[in-house]
């Protein structure tokens, strides 16, 4: 079977045309990026505001409990509800994008919220006391200090989105998921398995890129060698730990 998958992965026909790997990969990356940007545009300011002001903490709880909704069900339900009201390409695209955004918001929201919330009160007090205005406190202290948790929220959201975008091929979305869904439907295992390998690799590469970005933007003072590897006072449960 591995040989058959390898053959599929390396045949020239798999690499050309609208159903070729480059095009599917670009689609997958495009949807994922679009969804992440939209979700971040909603969840980062909201989470930062909740963490900063302490208002609306219940929103984080609500968002987190939404994670228990099965992603497959959410995808199907949104598609069924929205599709009749839409036309053409958007009929396939929009319900998926909305579902994916809904899935990406909770991990980003709790990352941003928890990150800002966890800023040392003494550092916040000092920032105000040395004469930073609220905006400056946010920009120079709260946001940089929140970055480790904010970034891990973004990374789990990214994994979640890449995984669910794969499933979304079932409701008509393009991307690498097409190989899996179409392969299963036509009993074409080499194609299914090849798609699975590509999706897994894509997710892995995306996470590595995320890790590199995180290492670059997060100050060494927050993660550096002077600190213990495992912070025992913050038992770590991955913040967006619902893959799909």
């Amino acid at each position: 079977m591995i040989g058959a998958i390898w053959t599929w992965l390396t045949s020239t026909s798999s690499w050309s045309g609208d159903d070729g790997i480059p095009h599917r990969l670009l689609q997958h990356a495009g949807y994922s990026a679009l969804v992440l940007v939209v979700a971040a545009a909603i969840a980062v300011p909201l989470g930062v505001w909740i963490g900063h002001s302490g208002h609306g903490r219940s929103l984080v709880t609500v968002a987190n409990s939404l994670r228990a909704v099965p992603t497959l069900g959410l995808l199907f339900a949104l598609t069924l509800v929205l599709q009749p009201h839409l036309q053409g390409n958007t009929a396939f695209l929009l319900p998926c994008v909305i579902a994916l955004v809904l899935l990406a918001v909770p991990p980003i929201l709790s990352g941003a919220y928890a990150g800002v919330e966890a800023v040392d009160p003494a550092a916040r007090d000092a920032a105000k006391g040395v004469g930073m205005r609220p905006r400056e406190v946010l920009r120079h202290v709260e946001l940089p200090c929140a970055l480790p948790l904010l970034m891990s929220g973004l990374r789990s959201a990214a994994l979640q989105v890449i995984a669910t975008a794969t499933i979304a091929a079932y409701v008509g979305l393009g991307g690498l998921g097409r190989y899996l869904v179409d392969g299963i439907a036509t009993n074409d295992y080499p194609r299914t398995g090849g798609g699975a390998v590509l999706v897994a690799l894509f997710a892995l590469v995306a996470d590595i890129v995320g890790a590199l970005v995180q290492a670059r933007v997060v100050s060494p003072g927050l993660t550096g060698k002077g600190r213990r590897l495992a912070r025992v006072d913050h038992p770590t449960v991955p913040s967006g730990a619902t893959a799909s």
Partner: protein
């Protein structure tokens, strides 16, 4: 409602199936993660290696892992064992780190007191580290449980039967009752698992009860 009434038997059958597919990996995963996490908690290098590889495993999208399982373990493509093993991998990946951190969350003075009283490594693990690590491990288990219930529904796409079948059926026929039933069923199952874990953790940590709780 009439649809629901006519399909109760089938629904319970699927829910039971779902509970197995999501629940068994939790137990097996915990059984594997405990020794691994314990090892990681005592050895920094092992911690880095295990947590890193767990993180990598966790990146694999579920549908891809389901599909690749037969290649790795040599099962048939439609075998439900694929799903159980895949879910166990996710559970272990999530719990290893939680267990390691949970065992490390035992305060140093408690640990040295145990050593001073002459507890050996194993006795200390069973009588001190594990009980005190229960709250952290339980919180990790809750996340894994909710996540497992959601992921298992995806297995319908590769022909493994459980509540996800209702979602697919509802979608294909554009018919709300099975779709809603599937979603609610998953939520209830997740709630049930969550409740059992919370209850179990309470039973195991009598010292945290009473007073302010």
């Amino acid at each position: 409602m009439s649809w629901l009434g006519g399909h109760l038997g089938e629904i319970f059958q699927l829910a039971w199936q779902h509970a197995w597919l999501a629940g068994l990996p939790l137990l097996v995963g915990l059984a594997i993660a405990l020794p691994l996490g314990w090892f990681a908690s005592r050895n920094t290098r092992a911690y880095v290696a295990l947590v890193t590889s767990a993180g990598l495993l966790y990146t694999i999208p579920s549908l891809a892992l389901f599909v690749l399982m037969p290649l790795i373990i040599g099962t048939r493509i439609l075998d439900p064992v694929n799903v159980v093993v895949a879910m166990t991998i996710y559970t272990v990946a999530l719990l290893v780190r939680v267990v390691a951190d949970g065992l490390q969350s035992v305060p140093d003075d408690v640990r040295s007191a145990a050593r001073a009283m002459g507890f050996g490594v194993v006795r200390r693990l069973v009588m001190v580290d594990l009980p005190l690590g229960v709250p952290v491990i339980a919180s990790g288990l809750r996340v894994a449980a909710v996540s497992n219930v959601s992921i298992v529904s995806v297995a319908s796409l590769i022909g493994t039967h459980q509540l996800g079948d209702l979602l697919v059926d509802g979608f294909n026929r554009a018919f709300a009752p099975p779709l809603v039933t599937g979603i609610v069923g998953c939520l209830l199952l997740a709630l049930l698992f969550d409740g059992v874990i919370v209850w179990g953790a309470r039973v195991l940590t009598p010292w945290l009860r009473g007073g302010t709780a």
